[in-house]
Symmetry: C2
Subunit: 344 residues, 2 copies
Amino acid sequence: MVKVKRLLIALGGNAIKKANEKGTTEEQFRNVAITCKQIARLLKKLNGDDKIAITHGNGPQVGNLLIQQEECSKLVPPQNLDVICAMTQGQIGYMIQQTLQGYLKGIGGGWAKRHVISIVNQVLVSLDDPDFLNPSKPIGNFLTREEVEKLVREKGYVINPPPDKAYFDKKIAGLVIKQVMPMELTPKPFRRVVPSPEPIKNIEADAIKMLFDQGVIVIASGGGGIPVVMNEDGSLRGVFAVIDKDKASEKMAEAINATEFIILTDVEYVMLNFGKPNERPIHEMSIEEAERYLAEGHFAEGSMGPKVLACVRFLKWGGERAIISSLDKIVEAYEGKTGTHIYK
Amino acid sequence: MVKVKRLLIALGGNAIKKANEKGTTEEQFRNVAITCKQIARLLKKLNGDDKIAITHGNGPQVGNLLIQQEECSKLVPPQNLDVICAMTQGQIGYMIQQTLQGYLKGIGGGWAKRHVISIVNQVLVSLDDPDFLNPSKPIGNFLTREEVEKLVREKGYVINPPPDKAYFDKKIAGLVIKQVMPMELTPKPFRRVVPSPEPIKNIEADAIKMLFDQGVIVIASGGGGIPVVMNEDGSLRGVFAVIDKDKASEKMAEAINATEFIILTDVEYVMLNFGKPNERPIHEMSIEEAERYLAEGHFAEGSMGPKVLACVRFLKWGGERAIISSLDKIVEAYEGKTGTHIYK
């Protein structure tokens, strides 16, 4: 008997909105169609009783929604960042759900009968996370000193956050601005930053697993999940933060008891010495090698770094296979012909 | 053995945003807390193995999002109406899900262990629906002739729609303006209109029932569901429309095989001769009476009308009990002490 596979596929932001696009509904559906066509190509290689779940980024969508919410703040109150994240889960979940439902019909092997469902999904973080004292996640455009001063004057932004973790529990997102580049290098050295705390637990893990176990293709943990903290009475509340999508995906992989974890991004391979003359693709690496490379700073922070880290965590937790490759190589990477494979 | 109850609770827009509020995140969470407190009061009266599902309106949230999307259209492309509906499912689903999860802990009787999950949910409509030729659902503010002329000139709006159902399949929502009041009565007789086609089928019905049967408190069909039509190959696509929340709720009640359907709104009773001197509350009415009153025009279109109609359809389909009452009377209505009860 062939063992039933349990896959989590993590889609990067470019699977939904390309960097050079504005992000109209039509553009995003077109990209999602390309993405789902690739996923369908993989499903044809799987058995009809294999299980898959999908998660996705939301960076460009949150960016656009934030602009709309803030530019229009005189007419309509902007929603908090946790609510905006929930909105993008609805938006992107809908687009993937509808499109993949369409593709399933053409696959055969029982896939046409499988349900696809997007879940509104919260992920627990802690206000004790150091990122609440020193927010690390830049969002939105680079800014000049003049633009920053205008934001400070007109909208109450502060430059560098107060060292008080309660700040992001109370204030609206994006009110903190940091200098992220030296002044002499660029006229626009400033950017807004929000905390990016570590995901602790997928709140809806049990219900997601219930669906997954019954063969439903579950879309969850979108955009890293809606960041929530626990109140003293055990109830939850949203906070102003953005959870790293790949780290949150790994928590979702644990939640569904995944055997295989595939992170899809822009590039076919993780690179050693990334951006340097001696850069070279990594075909496979052990957990130990991956950890050493991470420590040596081979992978870009907020980009390839968390992807490799998520794979390492997945394997240490008990996962069997972790792969990082590009969307258009999904089948080839799954079959071991390309992509970066991390193994125990 | 007591028969397990299967309830669908349909929440009106005022359960999430009050008409006199702007709709900040804090205001909406405060309203949702009041709503969930009432639902928790009902759950205490139920048995721990009874099943409930929740659906909700999204009128005020769609209105606010549309303003943000359109006012900011030079910076960020506005999303289509189906996508905006999906966004509000994420937004409102999140708020109800998180808040109800918190309240469940205090109820006892096994409720603390129940999961609450919001689903991104599509509802099938047909482009052959007459509402695509004559859109009936007003959205947004009342407008003067000058405002209308400006919209026509600057944004390409048209006054009265072309009698072509394909129009709403292709063009952006809200481009059609209709005169909804006589000129002599008001300086602002115009409003934007969108089609409000009949719901045919809840697309994710099977997956919703799977969750519901296992005791998950499912939040679905939000805002009447995301309106979709079927392509020739059986795949789906979104259309520019808004489905009536109560009619869509009834389809969801069928999907989960509900025995009881409770529509919560602003008023304790449905009124006969609504708005007239001889208006009086209806304590109970048979299907036949309800249909006669509907035909006689006792109930406001787009308001109490579809609620009564949804109850009639539910009972004709095979439902056992249908109740219309106000949120704060949920327990009393459920116990038969107040509210309007429609029976076979």
